[in-house]
């Protein structure tokens, strides 16, 4: 396994990292308060971002050769300024991710990705040949398509999976540290058979949505009687992107199109129609009965995205519950009462 490169935002093309012989390692923060990070990132800022900074300050992370910070929101922009000084060891590399999907944005993003690849290459010993990048693109696509296949089977009801298992597998896969996570053969493997939860059938089928979902949310919802069948989050289904026709020629253009064209996240503010279409697709494919939206405290994107989700659910007559969270693992008592009351509606 190559040296680890940390990354946060799901618009970060991990292909570039692996093509250079590094191992991408997603930073997902920690449970608990963030007193140290609070002294560096003052004000009301995203608790996920602070949580990640806290892990770095406390040196709870494995050694990272570098960290790629996509300046995808104000919180990440400030993290990019703070990380090299107070947080992470290794190099800090920043990436600008467009908030729109059109040819101009794809072109710009591809240029920025090429620049990032150059900077990353300087950290290692390998030059990044296009052919190596294409290999990495294919390898990741193979894995993602296995995951997509698994989730599609889950949507069709052919396999009965718990949301908490799916999120845990995805977490393991993204951090690149567990053997199971790297096993691209997840779909159809014995583990999945063993973890089947037919007893969930008959429960309300829920979409969990938000910017980034706290890992424990699906398990709690299950404990309280719901069945998360789709996780619309950047550490959930959105990370799996969507298949795009393979470009010949410039691999960076291909990556830009692949990432910007994936399921849009709340920050893609110029792409809101596509986000609504994406929700409509999920609701139909996964036969969603209701939505639980997790609004990350101080996440402007999520605050307004919830508004849009509310309009969407109202139009379709779908029950919707908003949970506010601070990513620290606190406030569960309140959630329980609200989730149980919500589930009684079904």
């Amino acid at each position: 396994m190559g040296a680890l490169i940390g990354w946060f935002c799901h618009y970060t093309p991990v292909e570039i990292i692996t093509a250079l012989g590094f191992t991408p390692y997603r930073l997902l923060g920690r449970e608990g308060n963030t007193p140290r990070a609070d002294t560096y990132l003052v004000g009301n800022l995203c608790p996920y971002v602070k949580s990640c900074l806290e892990t770095a300050i406390r040196q709870e992370l494995p050694p990272l050769a570098g960290t790629v910070i996509a300046r995808s929101c104000n919180a990440m922009i400030h993290l990019a300024s703070t990380w090299p000084r107070y947080g992470g060891r290794g190099a800090t590399l920043v990436l600008d991710v467009p908030r729109r999907l059109d040819e101009e944005a794809v072109l710009y993003y591809s240029q920025d990705l090429r620049r990032l690849a150059g900077e990353l290459a300087r950290l290692g010993e390998r030059q990044l040949e296009d052919s190596l990048l294409w290999q990495a693109i294919d390898a990741w696509e193979e894995q993602r398509s296995c995951w997509r296949g698994l989730l599609a089977a889950r949507a069709r009801g052919e396999i009965c999976l718990s949301g908490s298992d799916v999120m845990a597998w995805l977490d393991g896969w993204q951090t690149g540290m567990t053997a199971a996570g790297r096993d691209k053969g997840q779909a159809g493997s014995a583990t999945i058979e063993q973890r089947s939860r037919p007893d969930f059938r008959g429960r309300p089928r829920l979409m969990l949505a938000g910017s980034i979902l706290p890992a424990e949310l699906p398990a709690l919802v299950e404990e309280w009687g719901g069945w998360p069948v789709c996780e619309d989050a950047c550490n959930g289904r959105r990370f799996l992107l969507a298949e795009v026709a393979r470009e010949t020629g410039d691999p960076y253009l291909h990556l830009a199109r692949l990432y910007l064209g994936g399921p849009p996240c709340p920050r893609m503010v110029a792409d809101q129609t596509r986000r609504q279409q994406y929700w409509a697709g999920v609701v139909n494919d996964y036969q969603i009965d209701g939505v639980i939206y997790h609004v990350m405290k101080f996440c402007d994107a999520a605050i307004y995205d919830f508004r849009a989700m509310k309009d969407f659910c109202d139009r379709r007559g779908l029950p919707l519950l908003r949970l506010d969270g601070d990513y620290t693992g606190g406030g569960r008592g309140q959630w329980q009462t609200r989730v149980e009351a919500f589930l009684e509606m079904f």
């Binding site: 600008d96 944005a105 110029a270 609004v295 402007d300 605050i303 307004y304």
Partner: protein
């Protein structure tokens, strides 16, 4: 002279909404303002007010296609197309003075726009849904510098079912970023003209760029004069002109107001008319100020003689525009903002202001919900500490007066003034 009191006393409660749409209300307002001309300590402020009333009237009376924009969008494009620009964030500040904030906050809250987001946008959202704002024909927004603006303006465009144009601004200043922004600006300009049915007029567009350059020149003159000791204008008064930075560039009015202000400053400087009788300290103000009555400036300037000699918001961060390359040079303006990219750029700009205005201390007004301005302050604080410049991070909210704690604010200001005296 309180313009809001004037308006409130003439346009009482239930009349308010209708009054906005009535031409006589604006005529009356201008007459009332004109009658009090002599009571304005700065004629430039008087002119600014008359111009703003005209601009507001043009939006409410729909004298042309109204385009909503955020305060960082290059308004030269809107003036250059002959459109009527309207900035909901600025309207939010006005709403506070007009006494509709509480109602608007309630509406926003009831519609799930929660108190964790920037109150300028919450307030604008509430005002809009409560029917106080002039409906837009289109909405434009740049993604720099904050996350709240694009989200809230996109929601407004959806609500009014009008086109939304996002100017996506990267944080780098390299050639790729310039091209990306310039191409978007061009496409937004022609899409707006198309969608709103306004004919393209090259001359008018170039005039807007030239007007922007003239305004820039006069503002630079104002800023140079403000760098002199002693200060001739209090920060309390100068803050009123920030509106032009946020919504006026590209209009002839901005150039005229700055010209007038520069002339008045020059004259006062010659006559040695000081901002305060005894200037004991010079301060730099970061971000905006509260738009409801507080004792902050009174305490600082009138009582302690600590004059706010410059505001970060008045910093001219861009080069003159080139009318021969309008979109490329506007892209340059957008990308030059010192708040873009790594915070070291902002710190560098602030340290340059500290030197240029010979300030003794820096106050940052930490507007609740404004992540762009507040989140990275620690690094700024460290940089100022290295230079031994006293710094106060004053927490509060520019438009939500329920967040104002007079006692705590006073204590913090007094502590800061002590610190200044000790330096």
């Amino acid at each position: 002279m309180d313009i809001y009191q004037l308006i409130r006393s003439h346009l009482a409660g239930p009349l308010r909404r209708r009054a906005f749409k009535s031409p006589w209300a604006y005529r009356l307002l201008k007459q009332l303002v004109a009658a009090q001309k002599k009571r304005y300590s700065w004629q430039a402020a008087y002119e600014l007010l008359l111009n703003t009333i005209d601009q507001v009237a043009a939006a409410y009376l729909q004298q042309g296609p109204v385009v909503w924009h955020n305060v960082f969008f290059p308004t030269e494009i809107l003036y250059g197309l002959g459109l009527v620009p309207f900035a909901p964030e600025a309207a939010a500040a006005v709403a506070v003075g007009l006494g509709v904030a509480e109602e608007a906050f309630r509406v926003a809250e009831g519609d799930w726009v929660s108190g964790e987001s920037c109150s300028f946008h919450r307030l604008a959202y509430g005002c809009d849904r409560a029917g106080y704002l002039p409906p837009p024909g289109a909405v434009v927004c740049s993604s720099h510098l904050c996350d709240a603006a694009p989200q809230s303006l996109a929601a407004a465009a959806g609500y009014h079912n009008v086109p939304f144009y996002l100017l996506d601004v990267p944080h780098r200043q390299d050639a790729a970023a310039f091209n990306y922004v310039a191409r978007q600006l061009k496409s937004i300009t022609f899409s707006l003209a198309d969608a709103l049915g306004v004919p393209w007029d090259q001359e008018r567009f170039q005039e807007a760029l030239l007007a922007s350059n003239t305004a820039r020149e006069h503002l630079l003159a104002v800023n140079r004069l403000r760098g002199q000791r002693p200060a001739c204008i209090r920060g309390d008064e100068a803050h009123g002109f920030i509106y032009l930075m946020l919504a006026g560039f590209g209009s002839g009015a901005a150039a005229a107001v700055y010209r007038q202000l520069a002339a008045e400053l020059e004259q006062r400087w010659r006559e040695q008319r000081r901002a305060v009788p005894e200037e004991r300290a010079r301060l730099l103000w970061l971000h905006l100020r509260p738009y409801y009555p507080t004792e902050i400036f009174n305490l600082l300037e009138q009582k302690a003689g600590a004059v706010v000699v410059f505001e970060e918001m008045h910093h001219v961060y861009w080069e003159p525009l080139d009318p021969a390359r309008p979109f490329y040079s506007l892209a340059g303006k957008v990308l030059s903002h010192h708040g873009l990219g790594c915070i070291s750029r902002r710190i560098e700009a602030i340290l340059a202001m500290v030197d240029a205005y010979q300030v003794d201390g820096v106050i940052h007004f930490a507007h609740w919900g404004c992540r762009q301005s507040t989140a990275g302050l620690r690094l700024l604080q460290d940089a100022l500490r290295d230079r031994e410049i006293p710094f106060l991070n004053l927490e509060g909210d520019c438009v939500d007066k329920s967040k104002y704690a007079p006692g705590a604010t006073r204590t913090r200001l007094e502590g800061f003034l002590e610190m200044l005296r000790a330096v």
